[in-house]
């Protein structure tokens, strides 16, 4: 069935980082929106064909990772080009943060040579796709903005350096695994809302931008005599 799933993707033989995050994100999306979510923990390897069953992938990184194989690079390119959405989250601290950041940017340049990763402006529809948001914080507040790669007019890849997955991680007893700093619960709620918006953007693209033009579009065709007189 056509249920939405948040699949976590891994590279090489690395274990998934923040393994509870994708499940919690799915829970929150199901609770807060009308999206039909399948709640499960699914992990797919970037080198596996399974990535083409899951259009929404979450890649949480912590520290350096092995260089992508040709197959992984090819899968990444094909996945993004075919309409998939990849959320990349840097969960590292200190040198691990920098190591992932450097390696990820280098691999992205190799996988998508022509792609340009840019900061996502706060007026982007991503910040209005469900909630009205003004910040991009996660568990931590390292970078005030998200970065993204646009393909065919849509954001295909979004990169967060603020450990969004850390803010979403909750254990089996419902206890948050990491403290959101410096904003505490309010910052965590913002991070969850950002996660919901990311999912809604992946599913709806610029739908919310269109809503501003709906009345115009609805009335572009003249159906009644008064429509003629309005012009």
């Amino acid at each position: 069935m056509n249920r939405f799933r948040v699949a976590q993707v891994t590279v090489g033989d690395q274990p998934p980082c923040r393994p509870n995050a994708s499940f919690v994100l799915g829970q929150e999306v199901r609770f807060r929106t009308a999206v039909d979510v399948k709640l499960d923990r699914i992990v797919v390897a970037l080198g596996s064909r399974d990535v083409f069953d899951q259009p929404f992938l979450l890649w949480v990184g912590n520290g350096a990772f092995p260089a992508l194989t040709d197959i992984e690079r090819n899968h990444l390119r094909t996945f993004l080009g075919s309409g998939g959405f990849l959320l990349v989250d840097n969960a590292g601290e200190g040198s691990d943060y920098s190591a992932f950041d450097r390696r990820f940017r280098a691999e992205l340049r190799r996988a998508l040579p022509g792609a340009d990763m840019r900061a996502i402006q706060s007026r982007h529809v991503l910040f209005r796709s469900f909630y009205r948001l003004t910040s991009a914080w996660g568990r931590k507040a390292v970078c005030p903005y998200l970065e993204g790669v646009e393909l065919d007019g849509r954001l295909a890849l979004v990169y967060s350096q603020n450990d969004l997955a850390g803010a979403w991680s909750r254990d089996g007893y419902g206890v948050w695994e990491f403290e959101a700093v410096p904003g505490g619960p309010a910052q965590r709620e913002e991070a969850i809302r950002l996660g919901v918006n990311l999912v809604m953007y992946a599913l709806l693209l610029d739908y919310k931008d269109e809503q501003a033009h709906v009345q115009y579009l609805m009335q572009r065709r003249r159906l009644r005599p008064e429509d003629l007189q309005e012009r």
Partner: protein, 750 residues
């Protein structure tokens, strides 16, 4: 026999030179004798010298007296009688103009007898063309069928039929309605242009026009102009402005209607104001389907109207689709919605209006101000504005309560009037989550499952085209089977209890499905409903085809074909026919241009006339035309009379019948039947410029007509009798010279 002086062997130049030399010699002589003689003597001498010179000239030029045989006969006067449609208008004492003209030939036969005594008279009927006719045939009213009138063309045509010198003039019996070149000879003020005057004066004879007598009092309502049908967009309100010319009617109202195929599209009553001859009626209507249409504008006849021909006008119009406007309503955000939406947005010809349910109605902790949710304008999109869409696409969406039945009825009406409806399945519709949507039953081409509310059937469902699907224009592609074989299997299907009798299953799950014993489950089903079309896609996992780089072209192919078929886009048809011109004159042929898909070798084409009730008469004989390698074919067809016509092209492809049609109108030019009062001004001025005149039904006496009475023709020379070699001429010259000698001697001049 005729006698003329003839000077053989000399050109006019030599005659002129010799004459000038002789005159010069005479002047020299005059100059010499001036002052030396008395006046009387001088005059006598000059006269004698003049006579002598004339004698010498006669001797040099050697003139002769020519006897010629000539024939004097009556000049030719062609009588041209108008047989155009405008001659059907009623005139004096309730007789049509054509009847008035025919009465001239019966009641005033003596006049024409007299004309024939004085002239060689030939009779012609004219409208668009000229044809010779017997006088006896003119005693009955001519059938006014010609859709256009070309007075000047008729005059020129007749002129070419006789030697130019034989024509004594033209007698034209017409109401003055000219739809060709005559009006172009006048400036906007109604004055004859110099070029027009030159044409009139250049005719081989004067034109005498006989006009019908107009009715008194005039009483008529006519359609003088129709605007607004030149460019129509589908599902865009069109405003048609009808200008009416009213004569002799004071007060009251007239009803103006716009219809197509007997179905009234718009109607309005307009008041007739006193002292006003022009009325404007506005009619608003919604063109629903693209293609050629023939609309009819009609004014309800008033009692005692002179002409009913100008109360009705058939107007061909081309309705085009500017963009494909799609209303996409999704029950929730999903991958199926996302990839379909992305496909639609990437199509440049699609204008997409989307409404997606983002959250159900359960209360939440956060305030509405935190979110960007907006109310769903169900009333507006399902009722008020639904006619503005070319396709309503509901995706895993259930129409909300409490207005579910009313909205569904609105959709039903929309489709029956020519709209398109597509329901994409999913976990919330078609009985997957609740009861079968009975409110949509009339729209759906599938039947309810035996058990509802058990969700979708999940598994692996490879898809194949049915035999009907392979032949269907929306999917016709020789590679379709291979393309479908390369697509990922669907993972969920909405199970239904079969299809309706009128439905056509285009795609179905392949035999690999375990439940094949219960029949292969349909995946894509379509049907027609009234004037519109409906379809249902019984899965919410077609997005897998779009997400798969190898199956993406198949996804696009299926969706392209489905949208084209549902919205009746010509590209969704394997056979197309177009008629040119879309407004033909009576008697003229039309050309059918046919475009056929690969594999079609021949096409049958025939014409059908539409009856007033909108139904079509049985088709005439059909013609088979061959399709060339590029898929094109042409045929020339002859509609048998005025009216609204349909060209029907038919063939078969993969044993499936294909039919295409196009509409056109046959009728006179609007100006031909536009007004009740004969517009005689132009004809009168032109006739006057040709040295003729305009006369009424009280025919002027034949002798008063300005026609050239006779033709003088020389048929041969019987004799040339020389004048110069007569003895008397010699003696006269000798006598003059002797007399001159004698006079000079007598007066002492040497």
């Amino acid at each position: 026999m005729d006698q003329t002086i003839h000077i053989p062997g000399h050109t006019p130049w030599t005659i002129a030179i010799v004459s000038v030399l002789a005159a010069s010699g005479l002047l020299l002589y005059v100059w010499r004798v001036r002052g030396s003689l008395e006046r009387r003597d001088r005059v006598v001498l000059m006269l004698l010298r003049l006579v002598a010179l004339l004698g010498v000239l006669g001797g040099y030029l050697q003139p002769s007296l020519r006897y010629e045989e000539i024939v004097r006969r009556r000049s030719v006067v062609p009588v041209l009688v108008d047989e155009s449609v405008s001659m059907a208008v009623l005139g004096f004492q309730g007789a049509t103009r054509a009847e008035q003209m025919s009465r001239l030939f019966t009641d005033r036969a003596n006049w024409f007898d007299e004309l024939e005594r004085r002239h060689e008279v030939s009779y012609f009927a004219f409208g668009e063309h000229v044809r010779a006719i017997d006088r006896s045939a003119l005693m009955s009213p001519l059938d006014p069928t010609s859709g256009t009138t070309d007075v000047l063309g008729a005059l020129r045509d007749v002129s070419r039929r006789f030697p130019p010198g034989d024509l004594g003039g033209f007698l034209v019996l017409s109401d003055g309605v000219d739809t060709a070149t005559l009006a172009g000879l006048f400036d906007p003020s109604g004055n004859l242009l110099p070029a027009g005057r030159a044409i009139a004066e250049g005719l081989p004879g004067p034109v005498v026009a006989i006009a019908p007598t107009q009715a008194s009092p005039l009483r008529d309502v006519s359609i003088s102009r129709v605007q607004g049908l030149e460019y129509l967009l589908t599902r865009n309100l069109a405003r048609v402005e009808v200008e009416l010319q009213v004569v002799g009617v004071d007060g009251g109202t007239v009803t103006v209607t716009l219809s197509e195929g007997g179905q009234t599209l718009a109607r309005t009553d307009v008041a007739i104001l006193k002292q006003s001859s022009e009325i404007l009626a506005r009619l608003d209507f919604l063109p629903l389907s693209p293609g050629h249409h023939v609309y009819q504008v009609a004014v309800e006849p008033l009692p005692g109207e002179l002409s009913l021909a100008n109360n009705l006008r058939s107007i061909p119009a081309m309705v085009v689709r500017d963009t494909l406007r799609i209303l996409h309503v999704a029950g929730h955000a999903s991958w199926d919605e996302r990839f379909l939406r992305e496909y639609l947005k990437q199509r440049k010809d699609v204008e997409l209006v989307s409404f997606h349910t983002l959250r159900d109605d359960e209360p939440r902790q956060e305030s509405e101000a935190d979110t960007t949710l907006v109310p769903f304008p169900a009333e507006e999109i399902f009722v008020t504005r639904v006619e503005g869409f070319d396709l309503v696409l509901l995706q895993d969406y259930e129409i909300p309560h409490p207005d579910r039945a009313r909205f569904a009825e609105s959709l039903n009406k929309y489709v029956r009037r020519g709209g398109a409806f597509l329901l994409v399945g999913g976990s919330k519709v078609l009985g997957a989550q609740g009861p079968w949507p009975t409110h949509l039953e009339s729209l759906l081409p599938v039947l309810p499952a035996r058990i509802a509310g058990i969700g979708m059937s999940e598994g692996s469902f490879p898809v194949e085209a049915t035999p009907e699907g392979r032949r269907h224009p929306s999917l016709s592609d020789p590679r379709l089977t291979q393309m479908l074989a390369a697509t990922p299997a669907l993972t969920a299907l909405n199970m239904v209890g079969g299809t309706t009798p009128a439905a056509l299953t285009l795609l179905r799950a392949s035999p690999d499905v375990p439940m094949a014993s219960a029949g292969r489950p349909p995946v894509l089903v379509v049907a027609t409903l009234g004037e519109g079309r409906t379809g249902v896609l019984l899965t919410d996992t077609l997005w897998r085809w779009s997400f798969d780089p190898f199956a993406n072209p198949t996804y696009r192919k299926v969706m392209d074909g489905m949208l084209a078929y549902l919205t009746k886009d010509p590209s969704g048809s394997s056979l197309q026919v177009s008629i040119q011109p879309s407004q033909a004159l009576p008697g003229r042929k039309v050309t059918a241009s046919i475009r056929a898909a690969a594999g079609i070798k021949t096409v049958e084409i025939t014409l059908q006339k539409r009856r007033p009730d909108g139904a079509f008469e049985p088709p005439g004989l059909s013609r088979e035309v061959a399709v060339d390698e590029d898929g094109n074919a042409r045929a020339t067809l002859q509609p048998t009379g005025p009216g609204v016509w349909r060209a029907v092209a038919s063939t078969s492809l993969f044993e499936a019948p294909l039919v295409a049609e196009d509409m056109f109108a046959v009728g006179p030019l609007p100006a031909e039947v536009g007004v009740a009062e004969p517009p005689l001004r132009h004809l009168a001025i032109f006739a006057t410029a040709s040295k003729g005149r305009l006369a009424g039904q009280d025919l002027p006496s034949v002798e008063s007509l300005p026609f050239r009475p006779e033709i003088v023709a020389r048929v041969g020379v019987s004799a040339d009798e020389p004048l110069w070699n007569l003895p008397i001429v010699f003696l006269v010259i000798l006598g003059v010279l002797g007399l001159e000698w004698y006079v000079e001697r007598k007066i002492g001049y040497t």
